[in-house]
């Protein structure tokens, strides 16, 4: 489960690396033995996971970036992605 969004400041674990994939023309999260292809939203979320911003601040920043998008939907997407990555050990607090 994702920790408290007002205090949790996630960042990628040392084994995971976010990179641009020139062949597939999309961002990709690479880690031992596997890689996840990221859509534009997922890549935008992970770029903000710097260990300083809280999950709430990440959501706020995205809401400003994607003008017109529903903040609630963004918050749900952020939570869904971070939960998935945390379960796989790809995030650190």
């Amino acid at each position: 489960m994702v920790d408290d969004p007002t205090t949790w400041t996630p960042h990628l674990s040392s084994k995971a690396r976010l990179r641009w994939d020139e062949v597939g023309k999309q961002h990709m999260l690479v880690f031992p033995e596997a890689a996840l292809m990221l859509n534009e939203t997922a890549a935008a979320i992970l770029k903000l996971c710097d260990g300083a911003r809280t999950v709430e601040q990440i959501t706020d920043t995205l809401a400003q970036q994607f003008i017109g998008a529903d903040r609630q939907i963004i918050a749900e997407e952020v939570t869904a992605l971070l939960t998935r990555l945390q379960t796989r050990g790809l995030l650190e607090a």
Partner: protein, 368 residues
């Protein structure tokens, strides 16, 4: 058919190694394969691999630390944005080398551990190495690297799976690979001594499954099966030359590290052609792509797009025909060979251990 995008390159930088492991996957005639690629040839190969779409690079061997140009190769691989993993036995690692590798951009280290107990670990490795490996695991963590521990499982250590898991957690590994021995190369020579009983295997699998839930989010636990104990074949390498390639120390491009056992296939070398040309056009890589090569019972089987007919090397080694159905499959007319081998494991023979070393390599090369 059009060549698919490769994601993974295993670069076997050398067959030289200070260890003599009973299950080594290097070819039994490794002693005759000494003309290693140059630094420049490897650099060129990594650049071409990245352009083809490769994401994961495993620097393997033998022991890759025996290549003095290893830091340069790591630096070049990272420059190509490859996720660079060093697969090592660890015995030659030092804090200074780890700092150097970190400065060159190495992403990850995979260290082999033979057992949680010194005596069996060293019996299997054929050299003293237990204490050094534990020390090196700590140095790797201190240097800030993410660490995978890889343990090859067999009769000598399979009952220690709970202890191996506890040891990996204590050492701070992010990933533990409990990889049951696959019976090719040196492991096939030692099969009657290495294969566990079905009971031992089932207990290990349960222990790994329980631990996986316990360590979720902190340590990933992978468990590679003994395919002999099943009746559906593994989707070997995710299909022949589909997402994975292995380049040998001498430059041959293979679909897996064992494929040179298949007679009649000529594997092209990056010494003579570009990697891109080889990946797309090498007759050996195209030999078992897709399903045109399949015979019955694979040809009309609905599983063929899932298991790709199993493993070509195993088909060759156990049936004599690389295009046959993997005999692990219950539909294979040769399935009995696999069943008999697993039954024999219940009453192991007192055959001698064949260590992976030069002397044995010379002896076995004469035989073949």
């Amino acid at each position: 058919m059009a060549a698919p995008r490769p994601y993974t390159l295993v670069a076997e930088l050398t067959y030289r190694c200070p260890l003599r492991c009973l299950y080594c996957s290097n070819p039994v005639n490794f002693h005759a394969l000494r003309a290693e690629l140059s630094t420049e040839q490897w650099r060129q190969t990594f650049s071409e691999a990245a352009k083809l779409g490769v994401v994961q690079l495993h620097l393997s061997g033998g022991e890759p630390l025996l290549r003095p140009d290893l830091p340069e190769l790591i630096g070049h691989a990272r420059g190509c944005d490859l996720y660079t993993n060093l697969i090592t036995s660890g015995t030659l690692l030092t804090a200074e080398k780890l700092r150097q590798f970190r400065d060159c951009g190495l992403d990850h280290i995979q260290l082999s551990i033979q057992d949680s107990e010194r005596q069996t670990a060293e019996l299997v490795a054929g050299v003293r190495s237990y204490d050094k490996k534990l020390e090196v695991a700590r140095l790797i963590k201190e240097a800030g690297f993410p660490l995978t521990l890889n343990v090859v499982l067999h009769r000598f250590n399979i009952e220690h799976v709970p202890a191996l898991i506890a040891q990996a957690a204590e050492l701070g590994a992010q990933r533990l690979e409990l990889a049951n021995t696959q019976y090719y190369a040196w492991a096939l020579e030692n099969r009657t001594r290495l294969m566990p009983t079905q009971t031992q295997y089932a207990q290990a699998e349960t222990a790994a499954r329980d631990a996986r839930a316990r360590y979720r989010g902190t340590m990933e636990i992978a468990f590679v099966r003994v395919d002999y104990f099943y009746d559906q074949p593994k989707a070997c390498m995710g299909g022949w030359a589909r997402t994975y390639m292995c380049i040998t120390p001498t430059g041959e491009v293979l679909p897996c590290h064992a494929a040179h056992v298949i007679p009649g296939l000529h594997f092209d070398s990056v010494r003579d052609q570009s990697l891109s040309t080889i990946w797309r056009h090498s007759p050996a890589l195209n030999a078992f792509r897709g399903d045109d090569w399949m015979q019955e019972p694979c040809r009309s089987c609905p599983q063929k797009t899932i298991d790709f007919g199993g493993c070509r090397c195993q088909a060759l080694l156990l049936t004599g025909d690389a295009a046959a159905t993997d005999p692990v499959c219950r539909l294979s007319p040769h399935h009995q060979v696999v069943v008999e081998a697993s039954v024999r494991a219940e009453q192991p023979e007192a055959s001698s251990l064949v260590y992976r070393d030069r002397q044995n390599s010379e002896r076995l090369s004469v035989r073949s």
